[in-house]
Symmetry: C2
């Protein structure tokens, strides 16, 4: 598969999932005619028309390899994106990263206010689990329950939130490469891995098949975060749509500060190729996942 073709496949897949996720959130979040309107408007602000939708794409691309209907996979993808969106809202709060810009527009607490941001994040967190208990995601309650467990475990103290706690502690302590790797596996890797896992749950993939997919997810998770660190060091703020150079300013150890820029870049590309290698048993039905593994390290935002 040539690079141009891969880019073409990915561009079409991203465009499609962005449109589908936007449409789903639009339907899931009708604005009520009462004092809750402000909250729902804030939830819409955070979920419609922003973000690359990498997680829903990972989920749907995995699920479709196993013949899962598109509608079910996109809905489950909205649950993952709902968790991702809530985490960005809370992460941007003044008491956390204190960011003013996200996806090229004001962060939610800037566009609304802090209290609305806390509540909109909390409401999107709950929405994720509401979605996953809908029979439209799967008529099989075992599948729904497994999806809930995978997503809840990835978002809580043993996953994303735990990684964010480590990230705060990183401002006070000097972390080594092993600890930074662990931090990023939790903070970013857990939800990316859950996206692939949830696709596999919907597809009722065997344990052996899941092993390969998990190895793929682990590698792209780490590659994703190294690429993020590289963007933070040398990226373009206008393209990124958010403030950069924050880790260095906060004195946090990152892959780039610990390995150097060149070695970090080599490592990201090596992980991306290693991820593609875990898909060797699959044919062209895995081309989107392959293209995504390469996109993750080449992206400029």
């Amino acid at each position: 598969m040539g690079l141009v073709l891969a880019n073409d496949i990915l561009a079409r897949a991203l465009e499609r999932i962005q449109r589908e996720v936007d449409a789903r959130f639009d339907g899931l979040l009708p604005v009520p005619d009462d004092a809750r309107a402000r909250l729902i408007e804030a939830m819409r602000y955070a979920t419609i028309g922003g973000g690359k939708r990498v997680r829903p794409l990972l989920l749907t691309a995995t699920a479709e390899m196993y013949g899962v209907s598109r509608g079910c996979a996109v809905l489950a993808g909205c649950a993952v994106e709902s968790i991702h969106a809530y985490s960005l809202i809370h992460d941007d709060l003044p008491c956390m990263d204190n960011d003013d810009m996200r996806h090229g527009k004001p962060t939610l607490h800037k566009a609304f206010d802090e209290a609305t941001a806390v509540l909109a994040g909390d409401s999107l967190h709950a929405l994720a689990f509401e979605i996953l208990s809908m029979p439209e995601v799967s008529t099989d309650p075992y599948v729904r329950s497994d999806l809930v467990l995978a997503l809840a475990a990835a978002s809580g103290a043993s996953g994303m939130a735990g990684g964010q706690m480590m990230d705060i502690v990183a401002e006070e302590q000097e972390f080594d490469l092993h600890t930074v790797t662990r931090l990023q596996q939790l903070k970013t890797g857990a939800l990316l891995a859950a996206s692939v896992e949830m696709g596999a749950i919907l597809g009722r993939v065997s344990e052996e098949g899941r092993g390969h997919l998990r190895a793929y997810a682990r590698d792209i998770g780490l590659a994703f975060q190294i690429a993020d660190d590289l963007l933070d060091t040398s990226g373009d703020e206008a393209k990124a749509g958010k403030a950069l150079r924050k880790d260095a300013d906060a004195g946090k150890a990152t892959f780039v500060s610990l390995m150097g820029e060149e070695k970090a870049r080599d490592q990201a590309y090596a992980l991306s190729e290693q991820a593609v290698g875990h898909l060797s048993q699959h044919g062209e039905e895995a081309d989107v996942l392959r293209a995504l593994a390469r996109f993750i390290v080449e992206r400029d935002r």
Copy 2:
């Protein structure tokens, strides 16, 4: 059933559920030997040894009427309490109610810091759904999925978080009794009702039986909030373990400001008796729910 006996039944039931919930959270939240320790300590601070455990008691008392094993009901009760605890943490934040004391000790952001409070709340939110997808809660995945839906719907924008949003808007707008009732049904009532509903889900109660239980839950939810407003007006801060007189200071309409203290008190007692009336088809197995309905309006904290 005399008042002394009712108080005795309730005191024993509360003491028992408090002990069981504490023990469960202790087991669910082992402190890890890494940088996440601070987060887990904060989650323990918010869940162990504090609160009346009204919601887990509602859930277990309902479930036990239908022969559900105690262990399953207590675990599901921890899920509801986990949601309740997260909502208190976020509600106490400076950008929300800005409270310094809760359950007679410093609020979480005072004892730790704001960032840890946001993350501990988020982690408890996720923990609730992790708990509900454990086979220990129920080996029947239909039951687990129904529990998730009931709790997620009660905690999100169409439930508790929606009510909190209305509560913020109440500082700017003059709400009438109808709107304040709706606000409280969402802010407090939804989670209390979910506690009873989840007990009924575990007990596989028929639709007809659930109708009575829902009517009971609706009445005690409203009675609970009127009692809260009365406590806010004329309660003892030392007993309450938190700051009072906040609604009046913020100029918010409450049941007391709209109805007057005497009429509000009458209404709370009438709702409590009406709630007890909805249990008329039950024998002494409903005595804890009856005693709880009366306790809710008589409590001084």
